[in-house]
Symmetry: C2
Subunit: 339 residues, 2 copies
Amino acid sequence: MKDPFAKNEIKIAVIGGGTGSFTMLSSLKSYTTQIAAIVSMADDGGSTGVLRDELGTLPPGDVRQCLVALSDSPKIRDLFDYRFEEGTFAGHSFGNLLLTALEKVTGDFSEAVETASDILRVNGVVIPATLDNVRLKMEWAETSLILHGERVIDAEFFKHDPRKADISLTPPAKANPTALAAIEQADIVVIAPGDLYTSLGPLLVIDGIGEALEKTEALKVYVSNLVSKRGQTDKFTVSDHAAEIERFAGNPFLDYVIYNDEVPSAEIAARYKEEGGYVTEVDEDILEKAHYKTVAGNFLGKMANAHKSDSIPVTRSLIRHDAAAVAKSILETYERERA
Amino acid sequence: MKDPFAKNEIKIAVIGGGTGSFTMLSSLKSYTTQIAAIVSMADDGGSTGVLRDELGTLPPGDVRQCLVALSDSPKIRDLFDYRFEEGTFAGHSFGNLLLTALEKVTGDFSEAVETASDILRVNGVVIPATLDNVRLKMEWAETSLILHGERVIDAEFFKHDPRKADISLTPPAKANPTALAAIEQADIVVIAPGDLYTSLGPLLVIDGIGEALEKTEALKVYVSNLVSKRGQTDKFTVSDHAAEIERFAGNPFLDYVIYNDEVPSAEIAARYKEEGGYVTEVDEDILEKAHYKTVAGNFLGKMANAHKSDSIPVTRSLIRHDAAAVAKSILETYERERA
């Protein structure tokens, strides 16, 4: 286990998957170099899934995005994000190949991430949440329905309420000790926005993570998702999201929930609805009574195209966080609480 | 064009392909950081060939080996040499993928090599001999026989004397100006041992290279191959090799030929012969009358296994140069000449 934080600056741990973490890290890194990305490790789709299946390695995709977010070298960042377009390697991201090759060469995913950080000149540290080779499992006890694998679950339209499903990893995973140390030592822990059942869930259920979140003296902030995931979290409110986050972790650890209360333009909302998506509803009455505090604001980003490394459906890129505003709000909240 | 040599040390340019250059660079780099590898660019076999065919990029394989030879970072060197063993990517060297992805990202092979040098912490500089996308052609005018492509020629058992064949590139290639500058500015130019018709030939026939070798004031040394290439240079003597080198370059530019005069053990010679290989014969009577001087010595290395990155048939790894002894001899020759 290495020391996730070294210098005397504000220490921020960001918990999440690929894109949500990418966005938060990209903005938060302007406030501190003492930043740790704790990354979900249950992805088994796309380029990552092929590499896992064929080579038996750990999933590189989410780690790659976090490394790129914290990199200081634009040229090497472009290299990591490059996707082969033709031939044998079509669809594979170069960064995924690099992490996989490094894991093969060093025999150790942690060391692979460290060497990749070195190559990318990363400020901060990227920490796989677990180093166990796991798959996601989602189980509805009542109906005996079981779904296996993030790829499968990601493509699923849930016929049953996911809030009644048990989320677990097979085999059960132990937390990476460095991830636990980062949570313990952090001044702020940010739960980045992300898919509840395929990104945040499989991270927060890792053995040890929930306990660390309960014990740490850090300010714990969840940045609520802006939009629902079609067929999975349709009509979920802000408090619904927060409740699931805490259910995964196994305890009511959140100090703050930060959410957007600006209504998107009619045009964008309409396009979302057309494809079955919903802007996350703010249920103020319930939020008012919650054990956590809330910060509301206009956190709608400009209509942004997806980060070029992502293969994200167009609709999902229509509404994005104004990550700079969110980061500012997190830091202000922290200063206010510590005053 | 960038300055291939910067500091005030002895300047050495090594001309060749992959393995021969790898060996010479690995030893010569202990004498100077002012070392330039000028690399053959006609390879179209193996992992390199697949990448060229599928992605239309320049051949990375020989460049990769030279980069690895000059790298200061053992961990990243291992990464570059890593070959995927299973799945879709089996047989591909990671370093080849990196150079190819970098060429795609930067749109420029020179810049790709520069960035890769940076990642690998290379001491010295690796210079593609040409930046034109070329294929090797070998043509016997008498019989109108034409062979196309290094992959094809490499696998060929010549039915006609290769010394009567014309070696060229299609389309005709112009030398990389940085390669010409390295030859011009060098104190010593070493022609590394290597395959005559598929490595040294396609480099030395590049437009401008022969002229630069004739004009430079550097000491020009050819390190003669230890063994013949089966079906291609069977029974070639030391002077036969040197004569072909000068034929490719178009002029008698060599100052020195360094060759081994130690007889390998009966056991090794027998194993070679069994597979149709020959230890290069020393034809002293002809060498005595040559326009170049010669240095003979015991340059036989220990029975070494192939460098792990190579996929070299076992027999080719039985006899290797004692590269440290060769390098020492080159430097001593230079000091003696300049005294």
